[in-house]
């Protein structure tokens, strides 16, 4: 049962490696957006530190959104998505595998590079650890929810903008909890509640969204 999923995961990772610019654009976007903020609002370190959690989180979710359009559209165009519907495996599991690959290619690099940007915004060590932890729990949610939007806009013109309109409102809860967790540490409080809720949300998204995405793919390919 796991061999087909493994084959799919491997395929998506190999494709990403053969075309690294796709993944690098997302990271580049994240870095540039965050780097622009100090230029816009001035170099006061204390002020930057207060803004940092929100800035980093908003930049991360915009970067993830930027990459969503390509999640299914390449497979849709060349017909491999159609063949995927004929694979004798539950479509939800195949979708989940694709989303996992998407997270490895886009979400994980964001988590890994975030400490560097956090230092730039004057976050302290314990806040940076919390930021990474929150992003580690939060970016999979972004990929999972975003997949629904990517599937619903398959084959539509101007799909990228439509994804933003569909998905950004749904990104509010992870944004609030994720940025809130770092804020809590900054003010000396416990971030336990934020992280627990974020974790619960990830587990829920892990179970619920692949089926919604699979249904959307089926409808769009009908």
């Amino acid at each position: 049962m796991f061999r087909p999923l493994f084959a799919l995961l491997r395929r998506d990772l190999v494709l990403a490696l053969r075309r690294p610019q796709d993944a690098l654009t997302v990271v580049g976007f994240f870095v540039v957006v965050v780097a622009l903020f100090p230029l816009g609002i001035g170099p006061d370190p204390e002020f930057l530190r207060r803004l940092a959690p929100g800035v980093l989180w908003v930049a991360a979710l915009l970067a993830v959104m930027l990459s969503l359009e390509r999640l299914f559209s390449d497979d849709y165009r060349d017909g491999t998505l159609e063949q995927m519907l004929l694979v004798p495996q539950p479509l939800g599991l195949l979708v989940l595998t694709k989303v996992f690959a998407h997270w490895l290619i886009t979400g994980l690099p964001l988590v890994l590079i975030s400490p560097l940007l956090a230092v730039q915004l004057n976050l302290q060590a314990d806040e940076i650890v919390m930021l990474m932890l929150a992003l580690l729990l939060g970016t999979p949610i972004l990929s999972l929810i975003g997949a629904i939007g990517a599937a619903l806009t398959l084959g539509l013109r101007g799909g990228g903008v439509l994804i933003a309109l569909l998905i950004l409102p749904l990104y509010a809860p992870p944004l609030i909890l994720g940025a809130g967790a770092v804020d809590a540490v900054m003010h000396g409080a416990s971030a336990q509640a934020h992280l627990s809720l974020l974790g619960a949300m990830m587990v829920f998204a892990l179970f619920a969204t692949p089926w919604a995405t699979a249904a959307a793919v089926r409808i769009m390919l009908d």
């Binding site: 060349d78 017909g79 004798p88």
Partner: protein, 207 residues
């Protein structure tokens, strides 16, 4: 190979508000080929997509044996292979990788030698290690056919398999089709060319 009949009962398809066809019935037994013909836009591709379970019919039902195709364990892909207009190849992967990955997705593990000999029989020897984007349209079609033939499904649904193929490969494909029929496989095919195939062939005219 196949031990069941493939039946369509009272099928109808719509595109927008237009009825493409209705009250379509046929039965395909193991070893038979059904050629679907008709002018452009009469619903050949729609019919093939319905038969393969990718689209839902406006009315009617498709059966694999006594089971409706939607309720087959593992989906329609476990009994049929479908080749549509797009070749479903990844441009950045080589021909061999494309076939191996498709095989892996289907749950099998096609051997390296089997893939090479299938590619060679379709005239692609020497092109195995080239990314597919460097191949011509006809060569891509051949890779897609090689992938389909290697999966060895009892029922093959082929939408214009001859498109962009040159004469020699048409011959190879014809003998592959005949071999599939003689192994008690079933085939549903649309084509504009007249290709005479030895075997139990039936014709279905739409529109």
């Amino acid at each position: 190979m196949a031990d069941r009949e493939f039946r369509a009962v009272d099928l109808a398809a719509e595109r927008g508000d237009r009825r493409l066809f209705e009250h379509l019935d046929f039965t395909l037994s193991p070893g038979q080929l059904l050629q679907v013909s008709g002018r452009n836009g009469c619903g050949k591709t729609s019919l093939l997509r319905i038969l393969s379970g990718l689209s839902r019919p406006a009315a009617g039902q498709v059966y694999w044996g006594d089971e409706p195709v939607q309720s087959i364990d593992g989906g329609t892909g476990s009994c049929l292979g479908y080749l549509g207009h797009p070749n479903a190849l990844k441009e950045d992967l080589t021909a061999e990788e494309n076939i191996l990955i498709a095989g892996g997705l289907a749950g099998g593990r096609p051997s390296h030698e089997a893939v090479l000999s299938m590619l060679a029989s379709l005239g692609l020897a020497g092109y195995e290690d080239l990314p597919v984007r460097f191949l011509s349209q006809g060569q891509k079609r051949r890779v897609a056919l090689a992938r389909l033939l290697l999966q060895a499904k009892p029922l093959l649904i082929l939408d214009e398999p001859y498109a962009a193929l040159d004469v020699q490969v048409i011959d190879v494909l014809r003998s592959a089709i005949e071999a599939h029929l003689s192994r008690k496989g079933m085939i549903v095919i649309t084509t504009h060319q007249v290709v005479d195939i030895d075997g139990d062939c039936h014709n279905l005219r739409l529109g």
